[in-house]
Subunit: 341 residues, 2 copies
Amino acid sequence: MKIAVDCFGGDKSPGANVEGAVWALDRHDDLELVLTGDEAKIRDELSLYNYDTDRITVVHAPEIITGDDKPINAIRLKKESSMVKAIRLLREDKDIGAVVSTGASGALIGIATIRIGRIEGVRRPAFCPLLPTMTGGIVGVCDSGANVEAVTPETLVHNAILGTEYLKTAYAIESPRVALLNVGTEAHKGDELRQKTYQYLSELDNFNFVGNMESRDLLSGKYDLIVSDAFSGNVLVKSVEGTAVELLKKIKRDIYSKNLYKMGALLMKKMFKEEKEFMNYQNYGGSVLLGCEKVIVKGHGSSSSTAVSICIDQAYRMANSRMNENVASAIADFNRQQNLE
Amino acid sequence: MKIAVDCFGGDKSPGANVEGAVWALDRHDDLELVLTGDEAKIRDELSLYNYDTDRITVVHAPEIITGDDKPINAIRLKKESSMVKAIRLLREDKDIGAVVSTGASGALIGIATIRIGRIEGVRRPAFCPLLPTMTGGIVGVCDSGANVEAVTPETLVHNAILGTEYLKTAYAIESPRVALLNVGTEAHKGDELRQKTYQYLSELDNFNFVGNMESRDLLSGKYDLIVSDAFSGNVLVKSVEGTAVELLKKIKRDIYSKNLYKMGALLMKKMFKEEKEFMNYQNYGGSVLLGCEKVIVKGHGSSSSTAVSICIDQAYRMANSRMNENVASAIADFNRQQNLE
């Protein structure tokens, strides 16, 4: 099993990417990694660790794609970048089963779509990040920002199929409970897009559709996968993140406002640290770009070594799985059903 | 100054509505209230308080509109409901300047649009709830769920105008900082709807447009008004609410898991209560239905007496203001500018 890790483009690159890669080797005996980026810098980082040198290869790529690069230009103008090279390896080297990157999302979508292509029948790739639930599980949101234009009921059904197969493959959730993000729980709620999608999802028997969900219930633990358009999925995921971060920061400030609170907080130090870690969604892996012919895991731009390492675990579980075949077959079923209507 | 209060349809109706009404009298010497709903039940509640009986009138309305009533049917089939009667008073009694209701949103929008009408030039009414910011202020989100269909760049600009005039009038914010909810901060981000709206908002000089905002920054205190379509505004507001509630519940559960934490939490009891109150957006007033020719304030379905009373304060500040004239004039300006293009 071979995975390519794009070692540049993240806030903590290349340090976190290299360290995360080395850590991942320890957990998977048959894993080999190809690191792309400035070779000298990567070697400098690698020299800090003891690892089996046979299992890590470095492919030199001197350029870096940043958030300022227009996605459309990235592939054309930065052919020698760590991201383009990682994707090229994924395309050309049949032994490489996945790419992990912490670089710019827009460029990654563009390069992946052009160089790797989509699974047959999939209209648009979709991101599916994972968040923690209050019952100790995880919940995926698909799409959270890949397909901002051209959202139709059909693409939302594709998101449901992609997310379901992903959770089955990478998290062994046998029958993921799928809900549609909406402004109310009743079947007639929302715009035409939501109403038509609700109808499709109710009629298909490929998955376990449990109805509409209001955003306030995201963390309840009642759902495994939330189907959404990219825009509102993006709003949802980032507002959970923002609210948790801001609220925990406020609690910290308030603690410092009174000696009594400071004393109390001393006893609870470990708990507060755990709450922060609990809500830090980097701990639950990257946002997988679903729908491409090969596995691409996008870590948060600010990914730590731990976060990168978890992304490699995700990629490992998906590469060489039958996930994409299952997606293609579920989408073919859906298309057949539509034609029958 | 006379305000009609719909006393039924909320989870804590009529108790909370009547109590909130009585409390409001104390704060505004020139305020008179008309309470609509089952007269016997309202009189029962009123009998619990000492108040100036000259300042409260009860208008009997035996029916109740619930969330199960289709909005389209509510006005036709439930003419004797507390909501329809309150809106009818607003329309027919020129002394009544506003309605406060904790009843079903959909029905309220429908009845208000048909019976009260829109301000000249406004295409669709919009809800604008308020949330607390981490710098001790408030931030409005407009629209949060009134206009789910037919969203255009023009309706989003209308939302910006409505929200701006509301914050100026009811909260004396001189020049509200307006941001557009988007998937990224750069001007080119988002779909065509967002890009065109961004362009409009940048060109108009009626307000203080500060650019795009990602949902994670909502509570930062950097913005006074967030312009959004109803669907993503709804997702945003409810996910902030849900995340705060779930996180505080989790902290509570975790405290009970260890004696050490229980001891610490004892010292911090007051602080935790304050955090909960801080994040409870009922404390910041109702969601005003902007764009109608008269003032309509929609309290949360679960409004407490305090929440109802705050809604009456909001209505009081808006009724008899020049808010609607300012909206009409700003929209006329916008339309003129569009025609010039």
